[in-house]
């Protein structure tokens, strides 16, 4: 017995070590920094203060402003929209792949995954070229009266959403595909035999079975999308600033490290709240089963 527990300890050690060095210690550092004052050039300095949080809440030299609140709400809004679109595209796509003959499935899955082997920056620059003014897509949008003829689809909020959806699609398709693979078709057939409407078949036979995949995909998509930096930076044209960009700015261009740390802290808190909401949602949809975490 004692030998067993020693072995357990030994096997746990590397994992615990990695988590301590790369997660726990930096987080403590970050939290500490958020509660320091800002030095003459934006670096953290003593004494301990709530200055960064006051600034984050919008209080500044010119009184209160909702600017940072806009950034937070915009981040949440863009994340929600992108995640919903990803789900709407990924559900049929994953289903379609499962219904193909067995030899075809790995090929199709590979086709979904391969683009994500390329760097995010390069793929975003690709969208810049596709959406620039004078390209067929932009000309079509202009002909339909959606945009002014001189302006392209890039830069815009539309381009940001496309970039987000495109970036995170594989992370939703893969878990959903795994869920569809294990789908018990007998339940679906039974529902049909009992004259269930297509919606009822989906709601009561398909959704509960694929829910774990859907929830896993949502976590994999929504959390990184909420912290997204590259896509908004490159495709947004300065109109789609998200929390991730805000935090990055405070450590580089703007130079206000405590404010950046406070922003990162809020980001973590909002992410945890999001996970909680998702968990409750999963429980309600899944009939009191734990489907998230």
């Amino acid at each position: 017995m004692r030998g067993d527990s020693r072995q357990l300890l030994l096997t746990l050690l590397p994992g615990v070590g990695v988590i301590t060095v790369f997660l726990v210690l930096p987080s403590i550092y970050l939290v500490g920094m958020a509660f320091l004052s800002t030095g003459p050039y934006g670096l953290p300095t003593g004494p301990v203060s709530l200055q960064a949080f006051r600034e984050l809440a919008g209080f500044g030299f010119l009184g209160w402003s909702p600017g940072n609140l806009y950034t937070l709400l915009r981040s949440i809004g863009q994340t929600l929209l992108a995640t919903i679109l990803v789900i709407l595209i990924a559900y049929p796509a994953a289903y379609y792949i499962t219904t193909r003959p067995v030899p075809w499935r790995p090929v199709l899955l590979l086709a979904v995954v391969v683009p994500s082997w390329t760097n995010q920056v390069i793929r975003s620059v690709g969208w810049m070229n596709i959406f620039a003014p004078g390209t067929p897509v932009s000309d079509l949008a202009a002909a339909l009266g959606l945009i002014a003829p001189e302006m392209g689809l890039f830069p815009s909020r539309f381009a940001v959403i496309v970039g987000l959806v495109y970036n995170f699609l594989p992370f939703m398709i893969l878990p959903l595909y795994a869920a569809f693979e294990r789908l018990d078709t007998a339940q679906v057939e039974a529902a049909r035999d009992l004259y269930a409407t297509p919606w009822a078949v989906f709601r009561h036979a398909v959704l509960p079975q694929t829910l774990p995949g859907l929830m896993a995909g949502t976590v994999l998509v929504a959390i990184p999308a909420f912290g997204m930096y590259v896509v908004t930076e490159l495709l947004g044209g300065g109109r789609s600033l998200m929390v991730g960009n805000f935090v990055a700015r405070q450590f580089t261009q703007a130079g206000n490290w405590p404010l950046g740390a406070a922003g990162a802290l809020i980001m973590i808190v909002v992410t945890l709240i999001g996970l909680k909401v998702l968990r409750d949602l999963g429980r309600r949809l899944g009939g009191d089963r734990e489907v998230v975490l």
Partner: protein
């Protein structure tokens, strides 16, 4: 042309031969250079490596803020030479991130033009020696906008540009400076009222339908060629560099110093406080300050040389606008002020407001 080239090479050869006995001092050592990208002629690096039998490792940054953050996060002991812009020099000195230069090791320091010796941002050149200088002005596409006057109104006045996409600089002080100048204050305005009014000007520009984003000086040139913006802010040297690479694409793209005033800047070589090899760093700075090398550098990256001894060797295209501004232009060019404390935070809060809406 050819004979002068030959003479230059001969001179370089003689120089390197003459310098040969002194070299063994650094043999096998490594110099870590932290510089802007596209800013150093690779053959200068090779010449330095050959002369001292050392290796040079180059790392790049895209903004002063990024460079400052990297130094603060441990870079202070990783790089031997950094190249910050004028308004970041006092920040680096005050933060204790750089070390004083040993003028005894910089025999070529006297080559600098008078205006770059003893600059206001570093009295007595205690910490810095000029690398290259240039201007940040207005760049626009004549084919899209037609003939427009040399004014920041091309960006800020909807009447001058009602529908073509335009970009504003990404750096807060550069963008606010242009707005200050447009409103009749100087480019280097520091009063809070003027800055607040400037921020409102930029915000108004941002809220127009044809605003295409805050884009840095180098990428904006690529977007101008591609046609995704028709006006923006860029650096004179990058403009000329890309124009000479692609004369056709740049046929209609113009660079001007707006009559209201614009930015003049100088990038400077400095040595981080805990540089691994300060002796080699001094040798490198002195090498760049050499007249021949200084001329070669400007002839490669198309920026103005602060090196008086190098001026006669510059290519003719560098001795006229936009690289050498006219006297009238020089009169309205201003250095960006170095800010600290509340003044710096004030500008940054204003800029956060502009960015977040």
């Amino acid at each position: 042309m050819r004979s002068s080239l030959l003479r230059r090479h001969l001179a370089a050869l003689i120089l390197s031969l003459a310098a040969a006995p002194a070299v063994a001092q650094f043999e096998g050592e490594t110099l870590y250079l932290f510089n802007w990208s596209q800013y150093m002629d690779p053959s200068i690096i090779e010449a330095f490596e050959a002369e001292h039998e050392v290796e040079v490792v180059e790392n790049y940054f895209n903004s002063n803020g990024e460079m400052f953050a990297k130094l603060q996060a441990g870079g202070v002991s990783q790089y031997d030479v950094i190249v910050p812009s004028n308004y970041f020099v006092p920040r680096l000195i005050d933060s204790g991130l750089v070390q004083p230069l040993d003028h005894d090791k910089l025999s070529n320091l006297d080559n600098l033009l008078d205006k770059f010796i003893d600059p206001a941002f570093d009295p007595g050149n205690r910490y810095s020696a000029a690398y290259q200088w240039g201007t940040t002005g207005l760049v626009y596409d004549k084919a899209a906008l037609g003939e427009v006057p040399a004014t920041w109104g091309v960006l800020f006045d909807p009447a001058l540009n009602p529908d073509q996409p335009f970009a504003v600089a990404e750096d807060s002080q550069v963008a606010l400076g242009a707005a200050c100048a447009y409103q009749g204050a100087d480019y280097d305005c520091t009063s809070r009222d003027a800055l607040e009014a400037a921020a409102r000007e930029v915000l108004a520009a941002k809220q127009r339908d044809n605003f295409a984003g805050f884009i840095q000086g180098t990428p904006v040139l690529q977007q101008l060629v591609r046609g995704s913006v028709a006006a923006g802010m860029t650096y004179n040297g990058d403009y000329l560099f890309y124009k000479s690479e692609d004369p056709e694409g740049f046929a209609d793209i113009e660079y001007v110093i707006p009559e209201e005033g614009a930015e003049i800047w100088v990038d400077n070589m400095m040595i981080p406080a805990e540089a691994p090899n300060p002796a080699l760093a001094h040798a490198f700075i002195d090498f760049i300050l050499d007249a021949e090398v200084g001329a070669q550098l400007s002839n490669w990256n198309y920026y103005s040389s602060p090196n008086e001894a190098a001026l006669p060797m510059l290519e003719p295209i560098l001795q006229e606008p936009p690289i050498t501004p006219t006297d009238e232009e020089m009169a309205v060019l201003r250095f960006i002020p170095s800010l600290k404390g509340d003044d710096l935070q004030f500008v940054q809060q204003l800029w956060r407001e502009v960015e977040s809406r």
